[in-house]
C-alpha cells in the first residue's frame, strides 16, 4: 500500500477489501453515514448502548485470532456486558505504508467472520494510510451501538453481600497467548487466545436470570481488575477461592515459570458476573450449555467487609489481597 494515494485508490481499497469482505448492503451503499430507522432499534429495548475502542496489538496474528477478531469481539463484548443486544459497528483503520494488502485482507476476513458469528453488521468505515514509521502496521478502531432491553439493570455498583461471583471459563488464555507469541517464547504446548464475542453466552445468562447484578468482560488487567472495580463501585468485599478458579494446565504451567498471576492476565472471551446467590446454579447451568461457557464456575462470593477489597483464599486457609495493579506485575518482596 502506498501512502497518500487518496481519492480513487483509497476508494478501490475500501471497496476491494472491506466491502468485499463484509459484503453487506448498508455499507455497500457507500454513503458517508449509515442510516438506521429508530423504530427498528426501539423494537429491541428502551436504551441505546454506544461504545468505542481502539485496537493495537503486537503481533497482528496470534494463535486463536488476530487484530480483526479482537476489534469486533472487543466492541461487541463491551456492548453485551451492559445487557445490550449489539447491532451495528463502525470500523476505522489506520495502515502503515507498506503493509501488504494480503495482511489487510486476512484481517478484514476475520472481522467479517466474527461479525457474522456475533450477529452484528459493520455499517460504516474509514481507512487512512500513514507514512512508514507513523504507525505500527495496523490500528483499528471500532465503535458499536446496541439496545438494552427494558428491565435489565446491570451495573458494577449492584453487588450485594451474599451474591455469587462467576467466571465464564479458563483464565488468562489471551494474555498468555499474546505474551508467548510476542516474545517468541518456546512453550511445549500451544495456548490459543480465547478471543470471541460473548453476546450469545450473555443472552443465555439473561434468559436464566434477568437480574444479573454485575457483568464485565475481563480484558486488560484480567479478572483481578474487574473484581476490584466491582468491589469498589459496590462498596463490598469480594472473596474468591483459589482452587475454584478455572485454569488451563498449560496456562497454569506457563504462569508458574513466568511468575505471572493469571488473575491479572488479559482475556478476550471471558466474563465475570455477579448474580444473586439463589440464581447461581441456574446461571451456571445455562452457561455450561453454551459453547462459550462450558467451563463456567462459581469462584467466590460477595462479603460485607473490608469494603472495596478483593481477597483470595489460598489452598491452605491463607488469604491474600488481590489489588488493582498500576502497571505490570512488578516484584516487591524485599
Amino acid at each position: 500500500l502506498t501512502h497518500g494515494a487518496g481519492g480513487k485508490a483509497m476508494r478501490d481499497l475500501i471497496q476491494d477489501v472491506f466491502v468485499g469482505a463484509f459484503g453487506q448492503p448498508d455499507a455497500a451503499a457507500m454513503e458517508d453515514q449509515a442510516r438506521v430507522p429508530l423504530s427498528a432499534l426501539a423494537r429491541h429495548g428502551d436504551r441505546l448502548a454506544f461504545t468505542t475502542d481502539t485496537y493495537v496489538v503486537d503481533p497482528l496474528f496470534f494463535p486463536g485470532g488476530d487484530i480483526g477478531t479482537l476489534a469486533v469481539a472487543g466492541t461487541v463484548n463491551d456492548l453485551a456486558v451492559s445487557g445490550a443486544r449489539p447491532l451495528y459497528l463502525s470500523c476505522g483503520v489506520v495502515l502503515e505504508e507498506g503493509l501488504p494488502v494480503e495482511t489487510l485482507r486476512r484481517v478484514a476476513e476475520s472481522m467479517r467472520r466474527t461479525a457474522e458469528a456475533a450477529g452484528v453488521r459493520i455499517v460504516t468505515g474509514d481507512t487512512k494510510v500513514v507514512e512508514r514509521g507513523s504507525a505500527d502496521k495496523l490500528f483499528i478502531n471500532t465503535a458499536g451501538i446496541g439496545v438494552i432491553p427494558a428491565g435489565i439493570e446491570i451495573s458494577s455498583a449492584r453487588a450485594r453481600p451474599g451474591d455469587a461471583v462467576i467466571v465464564s471459563g479458563h483464565l488468562g488464555d489471551h494474555g498468555a497467548a499474546i505474551l508467548i507469541a510476542r516474545k517468541q517464547l518456546a512453550l511445549e504446548a500451544d495456548i490459543p487466545s480465547d478471543c470471541r464475542p460473548l453476546n450469545g453466552l450473555i443472552d443465555a445468562m439473561l434468559a436464566a436470570c434477568p437480574d444479573i447484578r454485575c457483568l464485565r468482560d475481563a480484558t486488560r488487567g484480567g479478572v483481578a481488575t474487574v473484581l476490584n472495580e466491582f468491589a469498589q463501585d459496590s462498596g463490598v468485599a469480594i472473596r474468591i477461592r483459589e482452587e475454584t478458579l478455572p485454569l488451563r494446565e498449560t496456562v497454569k504451567g506457563a504462569c508458574e515459570i513466568l511468575g505471572l498471576d493469571p488473575l491479572y492476565l488479559a482475556n478476550e472471551g471471558k466474563l465475570v458476573a455477579v448474580v444473586p446467590a439463589d440464581a447461581a446454579e441456574r446461571v451456571i447451568e445455562a452457561m455450561r450449555a453454551h459453547p462459550d461457557g462450558r467451563d463456567a464456575a462459581v469462584v467466590g462470593c460477595i462479603a460485607e467487609r473490608p469494603r472495596g477489597a478483593v481477597i483470595l483464599e489460598t489452598g491452605f486457609g491463607g488469604e491474600r489481597i488481590v489489588d488493582m495493579l498500576v502497571g505490570e506485575q512488578l516484584p516487591r518482596i524485599c
Binding site: 512453550l187 508458574e256 511468575g259 498500576v326 512488578l330 524485599c334
Partner: protein
C-alpha cells in the same frame, strides 16, 4: 532569677527530667526518694516530662539527685536532667500534684514483663495475689496491649470493665505503694479471670478439675502432649511441649507451617541453659522488662525436637512475660513451643469471638481470660551480633517507646512515614523524637492490612500526632505507598517519596544518633529488593549518604530475577540466572557436567526460561545481595527448589558456617570476587571467580559448611575492598571513614561480624542497627528522618 536569691536556711532546686518518665511510676519514685531524704516540695507531669521542686538540706538534695538516676523505675529512661536553683517556697510535706491542665505528653509505654516483686507475690502462698495471673504494678504489666485512648488511665484501657476492690484501690491511691496509679491493677477479688476451655465447647474431663487451678491444668495438658491456645499479652498463642516430636509435628501440620522456626518459652534461665549456651549479655536481654525472644546457639546437653527449628543451629527462647505464663510453666521443666495463634502467616488472633472458628482447628484447648486485648502486639525478636543486642522484630516490650532523635531534629515538623511492604512498621516523627510502631507484618495479608490501617489511625490519636508531612517508599506498588499517596491527596499534605536503600541507611544513622549536620557516611544496604532511583530493582548498594540525600557509588552485579517475585521463593532460579550471566549454558554444561546441580538445572523448563532471559520477559535485572545468597545456597543444595519462609535459604546457609568451621576456613581460600565497572561507570561486585571456585569445590566434594564459610568470608572481603576503593583519596567518597550497615542481609550474624571486624581493622568506624531492625521493619524510621531533614532544609532555604 539571681536578683531574688536570698540567703535562707534551706536550699531549693527546680529539676526537670526528660525521657521516658511518664506512665512508668516515676512520680511515686520521686515522692519516695524525696521523703527519704527529708525534702519538701512537689512533683508533677507536664508536656516536657517531669517537673519537680525540692527544698531542704543541700547535701540531701545532692543525694536525692543521685538517687533519681540510680534508683529510677525499671521502665524509665532518663535522657536529660536540668537543675536550676529556685526560690524556696512555703512548701509542706513532699507531694504529687496534678498534671498541668492536659499538657502532659501522653504516656503510652510498652508492655513490660512481670517484675521480680510481682513474681514473688504470685508464688507466695500467703500473699493476696498468690497464683493471680493478672498481677502487675507500675514496674510491670500490660500497657500498649490494653490502652484504647488517651489519657492513659484505667477508663481508657480494656480494664475499664473491672471495678477496683477496696484493697486494690488503697494500693492505687497510695504514693508509697508500688501500685500507685498502676492502671491495670487487679486481684482475685476484682480483676480478670483465666479459664481453661475446650475449643469444641465440650466439658473438660473430670481429672482436669483436680488441678490447682485452670492455669495449672493447662500445664498438665502440655505435659500430656496437647496443643493449647493461650491468650497472651498481645494475642493468642499456641503452645506445646517442645521436646515431644508428636506434638511439634501435629502443630506444624495443623498450622500449615512446615519449616519456619518456632519460638520457645522456658520457665527460667536454668531450663534454657540445658539447651543453649547463654552469655551474660544474652541472659540480661532475656530477663529484661521487654523479655524478647533471643536467638541463641543451640549447643546444650539437651535437645528440643528437631522440628522446632529445622536446618538451624539457633533456637529462639524467651522467658515468661506475664504471671499467666509464669504460673502455667511452674511445674514445666522443659521448654514449650510458643508461637503466634493463627494459621500459616496470618497475624495472630486477638479476638475471643474467633477462638472457636479459627483456633479450634489447631488447638483442642484454650487458656483464655476476660481482659480484652486492645491491639495485636507480637513478641519481639533480638539477637546479639557483634557483641551488641540488636532487634530483628520490634514489638512487645519495645514499641511504642519513642526513640530520641539526634541533634538537628529538635525543630522537625511532624512526619508520618508509612514503612515498607513486608515486616511493615510505620513511624510518627515529631520534634526530637520518633515513635516507631510495633511490628505490623506483611501487607499482602488482608487481616494485616486491616490492622495496619487501624493502627495508623490509632497511633495518631494515642500520640496526638498531626502530620505535616507524609513519607512513603519509592516503589509504586507497595500497599503502604499507595495508602500514603491516597492519604496525602485526601489530607492535602506534602508527600516525600524515599528510595528504599537510602531509607535503610538513614534508619541506621538515626538508630545511632548521628547528628543531622554530620558529614555523609558510606552506607551499605544489602537486602532482597528495593525500587531504585533509576526505576531498576536494587538490593546490594553502596551509597554516599546523609539524611538528605544519597548517591549510589557501587552495587552488586545486576542479574535477572527469573519470574519476578517467584525468584524469591525458588532459589534455583537465581542459581540459574547467575550461571547464565557468568558463563552461559554451554560452558557450564561442558565444565560441570558431572555435578548433580547440572542434572537438576538441565531438567528445568530451560527453553522457556532462556526465552525469558533473552527477551527480558518477566526477568528484570536486580542488583540483589539477597538473591546472590539464594543463588549460592541453591547451588550448594540448600533449599534449592523452594523456600517455606522469607530468607530461608540464606538463613540455613548461614547456619552451616559455625564458629569452628569459620575459624578453620583459611582466609586465602575465601571465594574471590572482582570489582569491575558497569557500562555506566558504576563499580560492582562481580561474582564470576567466586562461582568458579564454588563449582570447583562442589566437584571436589568439599563439605557444604566449608563452602558456606568460604563464601561468607569472600563476600565480606570484597565488600570491604569495595569500601576501601570508594573511600580512597580522590575517590567519590574520599576521606569518608564511617560506614553504616543496613538491610535484612546484615541480620546474618556471620556476614555482619566478618564485615564489621574487617572494616574496623581497615580503620573504619562501623555503625549498625540496634533499636530498630536492619530489615524492612526499620524503613519507616529512615523514611521519617529523611522527610524531616528535607523539610528542615526547605524551611531553611525559605529563611524560616
Amino acid at each position: 532569677m539571681s536578683a531574688v536569691m536570698q540567703p535562707v536556711a534551706a536550699q531549693a532546686e527546680r529539676i526537670r527530667v526528660q525521657g521516658l518518665v511518664q506512665g512508668v511510676g516515676f512520680r511515686p519514685t520521686v515522692w519516695r526518694l524525696a521523703r527519704r531524704e527529708g525534702l519538701r516540695g512537689w512533683v508533677r507531669n507536664d508536656g516536657d516530662g517531669v517537673d519537680l521542686h525540692v527544698q531542704g538540706d543541700a547535701a540531701a538534695i545532692e543525694r536525692f539527685a543521685r538517687a533519681l538516676r540510680d534508683e529510677m523505675p525499671a521502665l524509665a529512661r532518663i535522657d536529660r536532667v536540668i537543675r536550676r536553683p529556685a526560690v524556696p517556697e512555703d512548701a509542706g510535706d513532699f507531694r504529687i500534684v496534678d498534671s498541668e491542665g492536659g499538657a502532659a505528653r501522653t504516656g503510652v509505654v510498652p508492655d513490660a514483663a512481670t517484675c521480680t516483686d510481682c513474681r514473688a507475690e504470685i508464688f507466695d502462698p500467703f500473699a493476696r495475689r498468690y497464683r493471680y495471673p493478672f498481677t502487675n504494678c507500675t514496674h510491670c504489666g500490660p500497657r500498649l496491649s490494653i490502652v484504647e485512648a488517651i489519657p492513659y488511665d484505667r477508663a481508657h484501657t480494656t480494664m475499664r470493665g473491672f471495678a477496683l476492690c477496696d484493697d486494690c484501690r488503697d494500693e492505687y491511691t497510695s504514693p508509697q505503694d508500688r501500685r500507685f496509679h498502676a492502671q491495670p491493677v487487679a486481684c482475685h477479688a476484682c480483676g480478670p479471670r483465666a479459664r481453661l476451655l475446650r475449643t469444641d465447647g465440650a466439658a473438660m474431663a473430670a481429672d482436669m478439675l483436680t488441678m490447682l487451678d485452670d492455669v495449672d491444668a493447662a500445664c498438665t495438658l502440655l505435659q500430656r502432649g496437647e496443643i493449647v491456645a493461650i491468650k497472651g499479652l498481645g494475642g493468642y498463642q499456641f503452645a506445646c511441649d517442645a521436646t515431644r516430636a508428636d506434638a511439634v509435628a501435629r502443630l506444624r501440620d495443623r498450622k500449615r507451617r512446615p519449616r519456619k522456626p518456632f519460638a520457645l518459652m522456658a520457665r527460667d534461665l536454668d531450663v534454657i541453659r540445658r539447651h543453649c549456651a547463654v552469655s551474660d549479655d544474652e541472659a540480661a536481654l532475656l530477663a529484661s522488662p521487654a523479655a524478647p525472644v533471643v536467638l541463641l546457639v543451640a549447643d546444650g546437653a539437651r535437645r528440643v525436637d528437631d522440628g522446632v527449628a529445622p536446618g538451624l543451629r539457633t533456637l529462639g527462647f524467651m522467658l515468661p512475660n506475664t504471671p499467666l505464663h509464669h504460673l502455667m510453666l511452674r511445674r514445666m521443666d522443659r521448654p514449650i513451643v510458643l508461637t503466634s495463634g493463627n494459621l500459616a502467616d496470618e497475624p495472630q488472633c486477638i479476638d475471643d469471638a474467633e477462638v472457636g472458628a479459627r483456633l479450634g482447628r489447631i488447638a483442642d484447648y484454650v487458656l483464655t481470660h476476660d481482659r480484652p486485648i486492645a491491639r495485636r502486639v507480637d513478641d519481639s525478636v533480638a539477637r546479639i551480633v557483634d557483641g551488641v543486642p540488636r532487634l530483628l522484630r520490634r514489638a512487645r516490650g519495645y514499641a511504642p517507646a519513642p526513640l530520641r532523635l539526634p541533634a538537628g531534629f529538635e525543630r522537625a515538623p511532624a512526619v508520618l512515614a508509612y514503612g515498607g511492604e513486608l515486616k511493615n512498621t510505620f513511624c510518627l516523627l515529631r520534634a526530637g523524637e520518633a515513635i516507631v510502631s510495633h511490628h505490623v507484618g506483611d501487607l499482602d495479608n488482608p487481616r494485616t492490612q486491616e490492622d495496619y490501617r487501624r493502627a495508623l489511625a490509632d497511633y495518631e490519636q494515642l500520640f496526638e500526632h498531626r502530620a505535616e508531612w507524609l513519607a512513603v517508599d519509592l516503589h509504586p506498588d507497595y500497599r503502604s505507598s499507595r495508602l500514603g499517596r491516597e492519604q496525602a491527596a485526601a489530607r492535602g499534605l506534602p508527600l516525600a517519596t524515599v528510595q528504599h536503600h537510602h531509607a535503610h541507611v538513614a534508619a541506621c544513622l538515626a538508630d545511632n544518633e548521628v547528628a543531622l549536620a554530620a558529614p555523609p557516611v558510606l552506607g551499605i544496604a544489602l537486602d532482597g529488593l528495593g525500587y531504585g532511583d533509576d526505576d531498576a530493582l536494587w538490593g546490594g548498594e553502596f551509597l554516599l549518604a546523609d539524611y538528605r540525600a544519597a548517591r549510589r557509588l557501587g552495587t552488586f552485579k545486576p542479574v535477572a530475577l527469573i519470574g519476578g517475585d517467584r525468584a524469591m521463593r525458588e532459589p534455583w532460579r537465581n542459581t540459574y540466572a547467575h550461571l547464565m550471566a557468568e558463563m552461559g549454558w554451554a560452558r557450564f554444561a561442558n565444565d560441570y557436567a558431572e555435578l548433580e546441580l547440572h542434572r537438576f538445572l538441565a531438567a528445568q523448563s530451560r527453553a522457556l526460561i532462556d526465552g525469558m532471559l533473552a527477551s527480558g520477559t518477566q526477568a528484570p535485572p536486580a542488583s540483589s545481595c539477597g538473591r546472590l545468597f539464594d543463588a549460592v545456597a541453591g547451588a550448594a543444595g540448600i533449599c534449592r527448589e523452594r523456600t517455606q519462609y522469607e530468607g530461608q535459604a540464606a538463613i540455613e546457609f548461614e547456619a552451616l558456617a559455625d564458629a569452628g568451621t569459620l575459624a578453620d576456613a583459611d582466609d586465602t581460600l575465601a571465594y574471590p570476587f572482582a570489582v569491575p565497572r558497569l557500562k555506566s561507570g558504576l563499580p560492582y561486585i562481580e561474582p564470576l571467580a567466586m562461582w568458579q571456585a564454588l563449582l570447583g569445590d562442589l566437584i571436589l566434594g568439599t563439605p557444604v559448611p566449608v563452602i558456606s564459610a568460604r563464601f561468607h568470608k569472600g563476600l565480606a572481603k570484597v565488600i570491604v575492598a569495595m569500601v576501601r576503593q570508594l573511600c580512597a583519596d580522590g575517590a567519590p567518597a574520599g576521606g569518608v571513614r564511617r560506614v553504616a550497615l543496613s538491610g535484612g542481609v546484615f541480620q546474618n550474624r556471620v556476614l555482619h561480624e566478618q564485615v564489621a571486624a574487617r572494616l574496623r581493622a581497615a580503620g573504619f568506624d562501623v555503625l549498625a542497627h540496634r533499636q530498630v531492625p536492619a530489615n524492612d521493619g526499620g524503613l519507616s524510621l529512615g523514611q521519617a528522618v529523611i522527610a524531616a531533614a528535607r523539610a528542615l532544609s526547605a524551611a531553611e532555604r525559605r529563611g524560616e
